[in-house]
Amino acid sequence: MLFHSTTFLIFFVIVFLLYLKSNHFFQNKLLLVASYIFYGAWEWKYLGLLLTSTVTDYFCGLYIGKSEEKKKKYFVYISIFVNLSLLGVFKYYDFFAREFTDLVGIFGVNINPTFINVILPIGISFYTFQTISYTVDVYRGKLKPCENFFDFALYVSFFPQLVAGPIERGIRFLPQVLSNREVNFHNFKQGLYCVFWGLFMKTVIADNMADLVDPIYDPNSINQNGALVFIATYAFAIQIYCDFSGYSLIAIGLAKMMGFELMENFRRPYFSMNISDFWRRWHISLSSWFRDYMFSPLYIYFQNSKIFKGRSIQFRHLLFFMVVLFLTEFLLGLWHGAGWNYAFFGVYHSILIGGYYFAKKYWDKIERNLQIFLTFNLACIGWLIFRSEGLVHSYELFKLMITSWEIDELTIEYSIKFLVLFSGLFVHEIIEEIKNKRYAISYLPKILQYSLYTLITISMVMFGQFGVKKFIYFQF
């Protein structure tokens, strides 16, 4: 059930009308049932996985709350083990089994592992991370365990953000589940704005950009030259941003209409002044997850170890920072998919972030707009790695991009389409960047606002691809 489909529109209208008529108790039950229907509509068999993760972390949370200090951590281990096992089996097993078979094959050993060959359960990377964060936060004493199973199940499965985030923390979201929520015109209006703009980003910009990207990134493409790869890479940078940020905005908007506040997931990342800044603005709920549940604990682990104990603060700080950064970014890359290009995407970003801190004193002296321009282009090289079909394909595309330029009719047609799609986004983004908040169009005079809303609606009707292309992050 895609957000940009008629089925979802009917589904949401029914849920929303029933929600308005219910009290808090029934609202939560309604949302829980609706969330399970929403998830089951993709593939009902995978409801079992969602339920396994929910039951595990519900009981782990409760037992952490009740257990004596020494035993608490065992329940954290159980939670991490169960959730990562689900993720490992359904997302990574086939990939690593295949890679291992190829590796031992080089040495003349033939093995025939059993492959599970299943479609990746949608949203599994999101809800497993969400439930792990809950258990760890209960263990850290930042959150009280949720006593009511159904409320907890709603926290895990809340349909607007279930399949592609934002990855909500219990500390932020559970209090909203447990208390009365205000549904008012102001929230509804802001929510509607988010849904409207999110739909425009997805159906008009992202999906039309995809038509520029896909033919060029197809390994069997015959229409390739450096200029086309260059435009397609820029187009993909915009596509993935509009696709994912669009999804997040729709999720935020739907939740807002029902009185929930979801966390911000994107803060105009292409205005970042360096790569470290980029990761504070791109997929914020995931990057902050890795920071809080992997990067920092791992750094503290190294810091508390005896490694280079006698050396200076600066030396140990830099060493541990770089090692932990590399490991974290590697896994963050791999989180996106079972493929070496994703892992390398993470490694590439770790090199950029590390490089930034080494060259900080020089970088920070560069003119602000040039910093933004350079950061965007460095991020685009990362997207080339990310979008390609593998490491060899990345290399071939990159080589093509710097060696074989040709300006033909197709290149000009691509450039025009790219610029038209990009300009709509750019104006909106720059207004929000200057204002440093959402709802750019609402700051304009009324007449201009309504003209723009009309124009956007017309462009959605004419060029929007409704219910055709899935959201990119669904595959993660």
């Binding site: 850290r140 004493g141 930042k142 470290s276 504070r280 902050s288 920071r291 809080d292 990067f295 920092s296 604990p297 750094y299 503290i300 810091q303 508390n304 603060i313 600066q314 140990r316 700080h317 541990f320 920072f321 932990v324 801190y357 900080k360 004193k361 920070d364």
Partner: protein, 75 residues
């Protein structure tokens, strides 16, 4: 070491590592992971204070004063 001394030391070490000048202890110094990890190492090696994840909340730390306070509270 009291809070003021910690602030003084922190200022010195963060300025050296990030090559930025910090005006006063309440200035929002845009604490990122790099700075936060430096504070963790400083607290451990210089003061013998082990900061753990239970006490760290990245989104709440804004200034030298916030950082010094968490170190003092962890002593």
């Amino acid at each position: 070491m009291d809070q003021q001394n910690i602030i003084h030391k922190l200022k010195e070490i963060i300025e050296k590592q990030t090559e930025k000048t910090i005006k006063d202890e309440f200035e929002d110094i845009d604490i990122d992971s790099f700075t936060m990890m430096l504070v963790i190492t400083f607290a451990d090696q210089e003061l013998g204070v082990k900061l753990d994840m239970e006490k760290l909340d990245f989104d709440k730390f804004k200034s030298l004063n916030d950082l010094a306070k968490v170190i003092v509270d962890s002593k």
